[in-house]
Structures are given as structure tokens and as C-alpha cells.
């Protein structure tokens, strides 16, 4: 008798009997509210994605656009589908619902895209968004019309559970678990930092030879005496700062000529036409173009052409 009284007392304290005894209508109101929030969010995200997509196009993104897109693609189609497939809260545990929501979401998006491929619209932002929204709305609508049955079943289950097992208040999460969860969530910041500050970038300079038609290399290997060999020398700076370059030509006789000193801003290109007068005959004459950066002792880049000059 004492035990029964204690059970009843616990039940009243935990408000379980009252909760389960609530009219179905009240429970449904809660459910409808949840559904409306879901539906509203889906429409809000769709509208956001569409407007940002229209404004920015493909290839341009912002944190909000990425966030909206990922949440929409990763959650809503799967959530709506699983609500129809497993409408009762307890038919899936939270982990199952979470992971299958993601999996089904990506599947729905991909399959919708695949089907759209065979339509006139094709796989565009508008068609994908519209088709996915239709699926989401249909699923939510089915769930909406199922809700009375679902809640009836849930309440029945709750009654049965109350009748068969002792009522225990939901265990409070331990401090250790809360601590651990907090640490895990703080850890997320580390990954955001990794993406945000990816570290040093590569620094380099491009040095190339173009012919007078702006094609890489030289057009011919053999020339006649007295001809001039026109070449374009190009330097492109990717050093992340302004650099001063010095260009030298080392000819077949190992004589060195300073061609230019070039101050060049980062991501800028320097191009200059340079003419070599071919005044000596000989096969396989070597002309070296050497690039130094200010402060360098060793050549930074070097190019070489080999030509033959005939009478």
C-alpha cells in the first residue's frame, strides 16, 4: 500500500499522469506548433537561399549563405521524410533520427536533382529548391493529417507504460557529462580556426619567355646572321609583397648584360619586349636569362634558349 502511495505521489510530482491525461487537442497544439516552426524555417531558409543565390550567383558565397544552404540540404528534406516514415517520437532514438535525417536529406536532394536532369528545367537553383520544397511540404502535410492518430497512440503507450513500470523521474545529466559536452563544443572553435586561418601561403615568382606573337618559347631555332630575335620577357609576382627584380642576360660568350630592374607589386605582371641582335654565326649558341630578387646572391630563376645562327 505504501509503495502504491509513493508511486502515485511520484507521479503527481513528476506530473506524468496529468501530462498523459491531457486532452489530445492540447498535445496536438504543441505538435502543430513544432510543425509550423519547422515549416516556417524551411520556407525562410528557401527564400534566403534563393535570394542570396540570385544576388551572388554560383562561385560567390558568404557565411550566411553557406549556413543556410548546409542546414537546408542537411536537415529539412530528411526530417520531413522521417516524420512521415517514423511519425512517433519513440520509434527512432535521437541518434538514429539525427543520422538518418542527414542521410535521407542528401539522398532526397541528389535524387531530386537526378530526376530534374530529365526535365526541361534541369538542375538549377530554382528547380532544385522548388522541387525539394514541394517534397518537404507534402511530407509535413501528411504528418499534419496523421497527427491525431499518432498522438492517440503515443498517449496510449504512455498510459501502458505508466501502468506497467514504476515511475522514475528522468535522470539529471551528471556534472561530468555536462563538462564533457561543454569541452566538446568548445573544441568546435578549434576547427573553425583551422578553416579560417589556414596558415602560410606559398610565395613564388613566375618567369617566362614569349615570342613576338605572345606564344611560349621561341618560334624558330635557326636564324641568319644579322637577324634580331624578338622575345617578350615576363615576370609575375606571387611573393605576397612588392619585390624588386633584376634581369640579366648571359650570352654565348658569357658576357653579362643587365636588362632591367623591375619593382613589381604582388600579383602584378611585368612584360617587356627584348631584342637580341644575332651578330655571330655558330650552332647551338646559348642565351641565359637570369632573374634576381633584391638581396639574393644566387639567381632566383633562370631560363635558357639555344639557337643556331647561319650566314
Amino acid at each position: 500500500m505504501k509503495q502504491i502511495l509513493r508511486k502515485v505521489g511520484d507521479s503527481i510530482r513528476n506530473n506524468r499522469i496529468f501530462q498523459s491525461g491531457r486532452p489530445i487537442i492540447q498535445k496536438m497544439q504543441k505538435l502543430e506548433l513544432g510543425l509550423m516552426v519547422r515549416f516556417g524555417l524551411a520556407i525562410f531558409l528557401s527564400a534566403g537561399i534563393l535570394s542570396m543565390g540570385k544576388a551572388m550567383g554560383i562561385g560567390q558565397s558568404s557565411i550566411i549563405r553557406i549556413f543556410f544552404g548546409i542546414i537546408f540540404i542537411g536537415i529539412f528534406p530528411g526530417d520531413a521524410f522521417l516524420l512521415v516514415m517514423f511519425p512517433r517520437r519513440k520509434s527512432l532514438d535521437p541518434l538514429e533520427r539525427f543520422i538518418f535525417t542527414i542521410i535521407i536529406s542528401v539522398i532526397i536532394i541528389a535524387l531530386v536533382g537526378f530526376l530534374l536532369n530529365y526535365t526541361l528545367w534541369g538542375i538549377t537553383l530554382e528547380s532544385l529548391l522548388f522541387a525539394t520544397d514541394i517534397i518537404i511540404v507534402i511530407c509535413y502535410a501528411i504528418f499534419f493529417f496523421q497527427r491525431r492518430e499518432i498522438r492517440k497512440m503515443e498517449i496510449k503507450t504512455e498510459h501502458e507504460t505508466l501502468g506497467t513500470r514504476s515511475i522514475e523521474s528522468k535522470p539529471k545529466p551528471s556534472r561530468k557529462a555536462v563538462l564533457s559536452i561543454a569541452a566538446s563544443l568548445i573544441g568546435l572553435i578549434a576547427l573553425i580556426l583551422l578553416i579560417g586561418l589556414s596558415g602560410p601561403s606559398e610565395k613564388y615568382t613566375e618567369f617566362l619567355i614569349l615570342d613576338d606573337k605572345n606564344q611560349l618559347g621561341i618560334e624558330r631555332n635557326n636564324f641568319t646572321l644579322g637577324e634580331t630575335l624578338p622575345i617578350n620577357l615576363v615576370v609575375i609576382n606571387h611573393e605576397g609583397r612588392t619585390e624588386i627584380y633584376y634581369l640579366f642576360l648571359i650570352d654565348n660568350n658569357n658576357s653579362i648584360t643587365r636588362i632591367a630592374s623591375v619593382p613589381l607589386d604582388d600579383q602584378k605582371q611585368w612584360i617587356q619586349l627584348f631584342q637580341i641582335d644575332l651578330l655571330e654565326t655558330g650552332e647551338n649558341q646559348v642565351f641565359k636569362f637570369v632573374l634576381y630578387r633584391e638581396g639574393d646572391v644566387e639567381p632566383y630563376r633562370s631560363l635558357q634558349i639555344v639557337i643556331s645562327v647561319y650566314k
Binding site: 548546409i70 586561418l197 631560363l303
Partner: protein
């Protein structure tokens, strides 16, 4: 005979271990005599050792050795210990990120990163072993495992500007075509035209978020793969292993698996399809206990998606379903148990297999690969063929110790897995039909992968090893607990140290880490292009209409992003004669001169400087960016 049939089920694990040990010894001796591939010999050696160790441990192993981790013997740690573990986790996580951000070399991680990451793994393992039984603790550990998994994958992706490996360039091209034309490109049969799930998904991501191919992979696909793998392995483990610690440990081991890391950073559909396979495995195991039409519908939807995602993943799924069914039948026969339901019904397996072949036959055209594989199988010359001489010379030049260090993490992982598999097969494990069947399915994937490697088979063995490494993480966790079962003092700390040590070798070996030579400098091959290399190729191709001659990695980039005529320089590199390439622009990346590289599906290393050779042959050096050089000489040598 009757007594044998009576004892067979009870002694099945022992009999299998004896047979496997004998086969391993035979395989070891055969390879030691006939093959110069040290890594295969090491793998077989370790496998043999695992069977031997299982036979030694077996008499004393009880289910409680595995369950010890969640019994009263393993008392919960105090709040201070959990606090210390969590603070250490956070400090080391931030420190590891700090090491990456402040690295001195753009494309190399500091070695200390690998040490810190391995310690992080040890800390998570410690938290698994010391934590309480509440669900929230499990969730927090799962979040940590996921964070670690993402960290290990993102590092390489963040450091390199382009895709990793060769295939992603091809997938990128398909996605870019979808984005520009709004339709999947019709490139004919045996392409991804009829297997477009991955490509359509990334196209949708790009349209919804504005991210490019790599950005979409980095921000969405990679984390989804990690999250799905971690959670599904945890959930699968929960189906047949009592307690949460082994499933959590399995989830952690999966995150540090070298093949898993490697395939988690390559932007290709196979790596993505894996999450669907895990989902179907989970549903099948779950349906053995709680069958419902809704779960079957869910399984069918996911299975259809696998068919539309990747051929190898579909094949693996079909094999798994068939073996699940077959091993369920064997289980029922062996143990005379009237299990209500099998794991995977024959009808489900047949439905999947027939649908898959029908799709390949009438839609995608991939049946031709099966035809090729069968034709190839009947050509006896193909067996025991080895890599080309150049590759063999190089591989055999790698010191055995270096190969051993490089393969240590991988082999130890499979060492533990095979012990765990044998235990799951034994009735003493208490995992009943689910553990038995799961173990068999995992073994089949691993066997296909290993035989494929040894016999040089056609069907990309590394992908099968990757898939088996995923499913074998649960047996690996069991194996670790078995190995440490005789340790009486501080067993949990020993387990954490063991996992941490193993993690160092798996995350720093050449499979998981292609950027930083740690364990085997001679085997580390960078499979992603530098910014300067990409820019150089862009500049060169912008200023020429000539044919481009390049190595394999640059070839993949140019072939899939440019309209240039291209050819490979492998033959000239091999013959040291570049005159056949005269008239084309020869692009040389400095890394193929200084380091080993991939050519003709093997590892190559050249021991001369082709730049000198090219200049000596009178070919002009017309481009230099430090990391990339271009050489060109017109074919026209007519004297004016």
C-alpha cells in the same frame, strides 16, 4: 563425424584460426621466396601472428574480458579526472590547430602535430574507458571523436589548394558541367552519367551555398562522412555488443584508420557511398530484432542510392548482403538455433543484386567491367604479375625497417581486427547471430582487398581494404580489449596508450599522410598540386596552343580542366630520351625530380636530373616558377 559436428560450432573460432594460421604461414613463405614486395610479406606475417596470438589467448578469454570495460571492475572516474581529461583534450586540440596555422613550410605539417594528434586519440580513448554510463557522456565522446576525425582530414585539405589524388579532377569537371549546363553531361556509357548522386549533390551544394567543388567537399561532404561513419559504427556496435565502450572505441579506431583518412580526403563518390553501406548494414542488423516495413523501405531507398552512386560500393554492398544471408544460414545450421530472422534476407540481397546488374546492363553500361574482370581472370599470365621493373627497383630499394614502420599502424589495426573477428565468431562472445554475421561480412571485404593486392587484381584493392577497415573497426576494438585482458593493473591506461601509439603510426604513415615524410620518406608521395604548380600550368597553357607533355598528376589536372592536347612524359623519363617530345611543351614539376611520384599506376623515382638532359638536348627552358619548369623547342630545324 557426429562428434565433430557437435564440437565444430563450439570450436569454430579455434578451427578457423588454425586454418588461417596455416594459410598465413604458407602465404608468408611463398611471398618471401617469390615476391620482392616487402609490405605484403609484413602484412601476411602480422596476420599469421594474430591467429597465433588468438590461439594462445583463447583458452583464458571470457566474455567478461571484453565486458570488463563496463563492469563494476572498471569504476567510473572522479569528476577531477574527467575535468583533467577534458582540459587536456581542449588544450591539445587547440595546440594542434596552432601548430598547423603557424607551420613554417606551407605544404608540410610539423612532426609534432602527429604526436599531439596521437596523444589526443589516447585522451579520447581514456575518456571512453573512464567515463560513466550516461548517454550524455557517450554523446560528448562521439562529438570529440568526430572533431578529431574532421581535424585529421581537414589538415591536408586546408594546406593544399587543389584536390587530392587524380580522380577528383574528373569529378570536378562533371560537376562544373552540371553547373554550367544544368544537366548531367552525356559522356556515354561506363561514365558517371547514370551514377550521378555524388555529382548532383555537390552541384546542389554549390548552387545553394555558392561554394566551389573543394569548398563543398570541405564544409559539407567531408564532415558528413566523418559524422555518419562515427555514429553508424557506434550504433552498429551497440546492436551486438553489450555496453557502449567497445562501440565508442570502434568509432575512434575508425577515425584513425589510415585508409579511412586517405579516402576521406579524396573527393570521390566511393568515399561518400560508404556511409550508405554502413546505414544499410545497421538497418539489416536492427531488423533482425525489430523488423518493420518502414525500415525495409528506408533500406531499399538507401540501397538504390548506392547503385546510383558508385559501382564498387554497389558491388561491396551486394557481396555483403549475400554473405550476411549466407553466414546467417551457416549460423543457424551450426548452432541449431532458431533465430527468428536472418541478417539480410535472400530476397533483399537478390533484389539489390538484380537491380544493380540491371542498372549496369541497361542504363550505365558498367557490366562491361564485370566482363573484363572475368576475361582477365581466365588469363593465367596475369597472376603473380608484379609492378613494372622501375617501380619494383624502387620499392625494393626502400629499407625493410622503413617499410615496417610505414606499415606498422595498418598491420596492427588488422592484427587486432582478426583477433576480434575470431572472437565474434565464437559462441562465447555472446554476440549471437549479429556478431557472427557482421564478422564474416567484414572478413570477406578484407580478403578481397588483400588478395587483390597480392595477386595484382583489377578491381582497385585499396578501395576494398578501405571498406573493410571501416567495418573491421568493431572487431579491432574487441581485439585490443582481448590483448590487454591479462593486464591486471591500470588496464585502462594501457589500452589508452596502446591506441595512442597505434594512432601515431596510422595517421603518419604514407597512406594517411601524403604531405609530411615522417615514417617513410622514401614512400611519401605528394598527390596534390601546389599553388605554384597550378598557377604555372595555368600560365603555360594560357600562352601556348602546342601539345603539353606532363607527368601523371599534372595530366589529371590539365585533362579535366583545359582543352589542351596532352601526353604523358613517362616513357621519356624512363628512357632518358626527350627528343620524341620535341615540338611539345614539356612541363617538369620539381617534385618529380627530387621525390618519388606516381607513374603508370606505380611508384617511380628517377635518379638523374632531366633538366640537365633537356638542356643538353638543346631544348629551351622557357618557363620557371621554382616548382615548375617548362621546356620547348620547335620541331622545325630547317636552316634558313
Amino acid at each position: 563425424m557426429k562428434s565433430f559436428l557437435h564440437t565444430l560450432p563450439r570450436e569454430l573460432d579455434r578451427n578457423l584460426a588454425i586454418v588461417a594460421l596455416a594459410l598465413s604461414v604458407l602465404g608468408f613463405l611463398t611471398l618471401a621466396i617469390t615476391s620482392s614486395n616487402t609490405s605484403n610479406i609484413i602484412i601476411i606475417g602480422f596476420l599469421g601472428a594474430s591467429f597465433f596470438v588468438y590461439l594462445v589467448l583463447r583458452p583464458t578469454i571470457q566474455p567478461r574480458n571484453i565486458q570488463l570495460l563496463h563492469s563494476s571492475e572498471a569504476s567510473e572516474a572522479s569528476e577531477d579526472v574527467i575535468l583533467a581529461i577534458n582540459i587536456s583534450f581542449l588544450v591539445l586540440l587547440f595546440f594542434s590547430v596552432f601548430l598547423i596555422i603557424t607551420r613554417s613550410d606551407t605544404y608540410t605539417r610539423p612532426v609534432s602535430f602527429f604526436v599531439i594528434a596521437a596523444i589526443l586519440v589516447g585522451i579520447i580513448a581514456a575518456e571512453i574507458l573512464f567515463s560513466g554510463k550516461d548517454t550524455l557522456s557517450d554523446y560528448s565522446i562521439l562529438i570529440k571523436i568526430i572533431l578529431l576525425g574532421i581535424l585529421l582530414r581537414w589538415v591536408s585539405l586546408v594546406m593544399f589548394p587543389s584536390s587530392v589524388w587524380f580522380d577528383p579532377w574528373y569529378h570536378k569537371r562533371i560537376i562544373e558541367t552540371i553547373l554550367s549546363t544544368s544537366h548531367i553531361p552525356q559522356v556515354g556509357l561506363q561514365s558517371y552519367e547514370k551514377l550521378p548522386v555524388y555529382h548532383v549533390l555537390i552541384s546542389a551544394l554549390s548552387q545553394f551555398t555558392g561554394l566551389n567543388f573543394k569548398g563543398s567537399f570541405l564544409i559539407f561532404i567531408c564532415p558528413v562522412i566523418v559524422i555518419a561513419q562515427a555514429l553508424l559504427i557506434f550504433m552498429i556496435g551497440n546492436v551486438f555488443i553489450p555496453g557502449k565502450k567497445i562501440p565508442l572505441l570502434a568509432s575512434l579506431l575508425l577515425m584513425i584508420g589510415d585508409y579511412n583518412i586517405s579516402n576521406g580526403i579524396i573527393e570521390f563518390p566511393n568515399g561518400f557511398a560508404i556511409i550508405f553501406i554502413l546505414a544499410v548494414i545497421y538497418i539489416n542488423l536492427k531488423m533482425q530484432k525489430f523488423a518493420s516495413v518502414r525500415w525495409i523501405v528506408l533500406a531499399i531507398i538507401i540501397m538504390l542510392t548506392i547503385i546510383l552512386t558508385h559501382t564498387l560500393a554497389s558491388m561491396a554492398m551486394a557481396i555483403l548482403l549475400l554473405f550476411f544471408w549466407l553466414s546467417s544460414i551457416i549460423y543457424r545450421w551450426l548452432f541449431w538455433e532458431s533465430e527468428k530472422r536472418l541478417i539480410a534476407s535472400l530476397s533483399l540481397a537478390m533484389l539489390f543484386t538484380i537491380t544493380m546488374f540491371t542498372w549496369w546492363m541497361y542504363a550505365s553500361g558498367h557490366y562491361i567491367f564485370i566482363v573484363k574482370a572475368i576475361t582477365w581472370a581466365f588469363q593465367a599470365d596475369n597472376y603473380f604479375t608484379e609492378a613494372p621493373i622501375k617501380a619494383l627497383e624502387y620499392i625494393s630499394s626502400v629499407p625493410i625497417l622503413e617499410t615496417l614502420m610505414d606499415k606498422l599502424g595498418f598491420t596492427v589495426y588488422f592484427f587486432f581486427s582478426s583477433i576480434g573477428c575470431l572472437f565474434l565468431i565464437s559462441p562465447r562472445s555472446g554476440s549471437r547471430i549479429s556478431g557472427f554475421v557482421y564478422s564474416f561480412g567484414s572478413i570477406v571485404l578484407a580478403v578481397i582487398g588483400f588478395l587483390g593486392t597480392v595477386f595484382n587484381l583489377l578491381f582497385i584493392p585499396t578501395r576494398w581494404i578501405f571498406m573493410s577497415q571501416m567495418t573491421l573497426s568493431i572487431p579491432a576494438a574487441i581485439g585490443i580489449c582481448m590483448i590487454t585482458s591479462r593486464i591486471m593493473v591500470n588496464r585502462r591506461i594501457w589500452i589508452a596508450c596502446l591506441v595512442s601509439g597505434m594512432a601515431f603510426f596510422t595517421i603518419s604513415n604514407t597512406m594517411a599522410n601524403f604531405d609530411t615524410p615522417v615514417l617513410s620518406p622514401k614512400m611519401t608521395i605528394r598527390v596534390s598540386l601546389y599553388s605554384s604548380e597550378l598557377q604555372s600550368i595555368d600560365t603555360i597553357t594560357a600562352y601556348t596552343k602546342k601539345t603539353i607533355s606532363v607527368d601523371q598528376l599534372a595530366f589529371a589536372y590539365i585533362f579535366n580542366t583545359k582543352e589542351e592536347k596532352i601526353q604523358l612524359i613517362n616513357k621519356s623519363l624512363d628512357s632518358m630520351d626527350f627528343t620524341p617530345l620535341m615540338g611539345s611543351v614539356i612541363i617538369l614539376r620539381k617534385s618529380i625530380i627530387d621525390d618519388p611520384f606516381y607513374a603508370s599506376s606505380s611508384i617511380w623515382r628517377i635518379y638523374y636530373d632531366p633538366r640537365i638532359l633537356l638542356l643538353n638536348e638543346g631544348i629551351n627552358c622557357v618557363y620557371d616558377s621554382g616548382s615548375t619548369m617548362a621546356y620547348f623547342r620547335t620541331k622545325d630545324d630547317s636552316i634558313p
